[in-house]
């Protein structure tokens, strides 16, 4: 398959990735090749096969009681934040 510039820009938008104009044709080329490559999967007969989401076929993910186990660490966590003020994460204005 052959993707267009428009397709790649749309995928990048959905993925919230800014691409430069020079990067677009590079991804058009490599993503097209990747989708051609994975098209081999169409050769498999999967008509009566259940999709497998977990590598240990019969494992069920556990639930745990909804209890507070950790203490308040927000000061420590916020040291990694790009911008914080009054214990709040700052972002550009969203509501006018």
């Amino acid at each position: 398959m052959s993707l267009t510039d428009h397709d790649v820009k749309n995928i990048a938008h959905l993925a919230r990735l800014a691409l430069t104009e020079e990067q677009v044709p590079v991804y058009v080329d490599s993503l097209s090749k990747i989708f051609d490559f994975v098209a081999q999967l169409n050769a498999a007969d999967t008509a009566s096969v259940e999709p497998m989401a977990h590598p240990l076929a019969d494992q069920v993910q556990r639930m745990r009681p909804d209890e507070v186990l950790d203490s308040d660490q927000h000061g420590k966590y916020q040291r990694n934040a790009p911008r914080v003020e009054a214990d709040l994460y700052l972002v550009p204005k969203v509501i006018e």
Binding site: V38, A44, V94
Partner: protein
């Protein structure tokens, strides 16, 4: 006199307990090697010398008091994908170039309790996406066997560090071969345990249904010693499996007479170089001499493992990496004009080219109208491959074949062609899709470059795999080879 860095982890552990040398001496010895050799190799992103000496001091005190954990005083390097409390944790990415982890990953915590001394954090492909360690924001890692060659990836820094004798063990992760392929390319023993055997808590996620933590060491015995203290149920990882951890060390010396080895027919076809194939056949002869029986088996769907992986892994990656939004941690672009601009430019500038490629691949295969054709179909083929393995294990105890189709290749040789790069993992991906444990051990060299033999087992058969690898290492000396200039 034998140098300290010539000793295996098991020998170092024994020497520490016998007080032939102290943990502080060991830490100083390996830190001096790191200082001298790492600038060329670029295997470590962060060196934690001060913390290491303090931890070594504590280990010596515990060893003196007789209260030491099983690995007290043993030096170790963690892959920079594992969160380490108070220490820079970059995952090889500009996105996390300023990220100081606020807690320890479960395996970091467990190994610290066992007494290991962390020397630093290893370089890696960005977010573990790569097979050559060339996608790292911190630059490529060199292979100590030949500085023009890649060490493999994504755990390339871990592998180069252990191969260059900068530490007797490094932790690593394997999503599609990222422990086994670097082990093969640098002459090490690399173990990827069963999915769910080792906690993923605090291990930065790439593809959550495939990621598994493991080890890079010289020998299977060393791997057994470390896995014993790394493995186990963790309530903080919802996919961690609650099944007892056996004594991997005690199981090492089981005789191999009567072992049924399946030769994967599909692994000896296609892109396998003849010089590598020859070494694999010679390794199989060693097993025959030990009384094992070789049986050819066919896994007809296995050739579809690479395309299956390159749908499933990017899909999970696009979802996992959506957490990097430039708001709570990680890189933020300059002067965002609004929130969408902040997201897009922080991610566009913070992620490298390969990570962006995989996020976009994943976004596409999960998008409306394409989900059934790509993602759902890949999940179905994943079951076909898993069923092929299950059928094979009704006939044989373990499966064997090459780890990688070729020895280490030149830095720069495959970076421009993602498909060629992806095909490096053609022999390793199957075990990840099926959640199986697998390891690679050195079995010879071609033109001075190591070659790895891969051994795959049924779920939770780590003890058997280590036993089988140990049996070979009792008969051969490949695991004792040290690259020139690093003796």
């Amino acid at each position: 006199m034998t140098e300290l860095h010539h000793l295996t982890l098991a020998e170092l552990n024994e020497g520490l307990r016998a007080r032939r040398f102290s943990s502080v001496e060991l830490a100083k010895h390996f830190l001096a090697r790191i200082e001298r050799l790492n600038p060329t190799l670029n295997a470590l992103i962060t060196v934690t010398a001060e913390q290491a000496l303090a931890a070594a001091q504590r280990a010596d005190e515990l060893l003196a008091s007789g209260e030491a954990g099983a690995l007290a005083g043993v030096p170790l390097i963690h892959k920079d994908i594992f969160c380490t409390d108070g220490v820079l944790t970059t995952c090889g990415s500009r996105m996390l170039a300023n990220f100081v982890a606020p807690y320890d990953a479960t395996i970091v915590e467990k190994l610290s309790q066992s007494g290991v001394v962390m020397l630093g954090k290893a370089n890696m492909d960005e977010f573990a996406m790569g097979s050559s360690n060339e996608t790292s924001y911190y630059g490529p890692v060199k292979n100590p066997w030949d500085l023009k060659k890649v060490p493999g990836g994504s755990s390339g820094g871990s592998a180069a560090a252990v191969a260059a004798r900068l530490a007797p063990v490094a932790t690593a992760t394997d999503t599609g071969g990222s422990i086994r392929q670097p082990a093969a390319l640098t002459g090490l023993t690399g173990l990827k345990p069963t999915y769910g055997r080792v906690s993923r808590y605090g291990m930065i996620a790439f593809a959550s249904s495939l990621d598994q933590a493991g080890t890079l060491t010289y020998t299977a015995k060393d791997a057994a010693l470390v896995l014993r203290d790394m493995a186990g149920f963790d309530p903080r990882d919802s996919t961690s499996v609650d099944t007892p951890v056996p004594d991997y060390v005690a199981a090492l010396d089981q005789p191999l007479k009567g072992l049924k080895i399946g030769l994967l027919k599909e692994f000896f076809e296609g892109g396998l170089e003849e010089s590598t194939a020859k070494l694999i056949r010679e390794a199989l002869q060693v097993y025959e001499r030990l009384g094992a029986q070789l049986i050819e088996v066919s896994l007809p769907n296995l050739p579809l493992s690479v395309p299956t992986y390159y749908v499933v892994a990017p899909a999970e990656c696009s979802s996992n990496l959506s957490r990097f939004d430039g708001v709570r941690f990680g890189y933020r672009c300059e002067n965002p004009k609004d929130l969408v601009d902040l997201y897009k430019r922080s991610r566009g500038e913070g992620f490298g080219a390969e990570v962006k490629r995989r996020i976009m691949t994943g976004t596409y295969v999960l998008s409306a109208g394409y989900y059934d054709a790509y993602y759902l179909r890949a999940q179905k083929v994943r079951r076909l491959i898993t069923d092929d393995f299950a059928r094979a294990f009704q006939q044989v105890d373990v499966l064997m074949g090459p780890t990688s189709p070729t020895p280490a290749f030149d830095i720069g040789a495959k970076v421009d062609d993602p498909i060629t790069m992806y095909l490096n993992d053609i022999y390793t991906i199957g075990a990840n899709l099926a959640g199986l444990p697998a390891l690679s051990i050195p079995c010879g060299s071609v033109g001075g470059l190591p070659v790895g033999l891969q051994i795959i087992g049924p779920h939770f058969a780590e003890a058997k795999l280590l036993n089988v690898a140990h049996g070979y290492q009792n008969e051969t000396l490949w695991h004792r080879d040290i690259p020139k200039g690093y003796e």
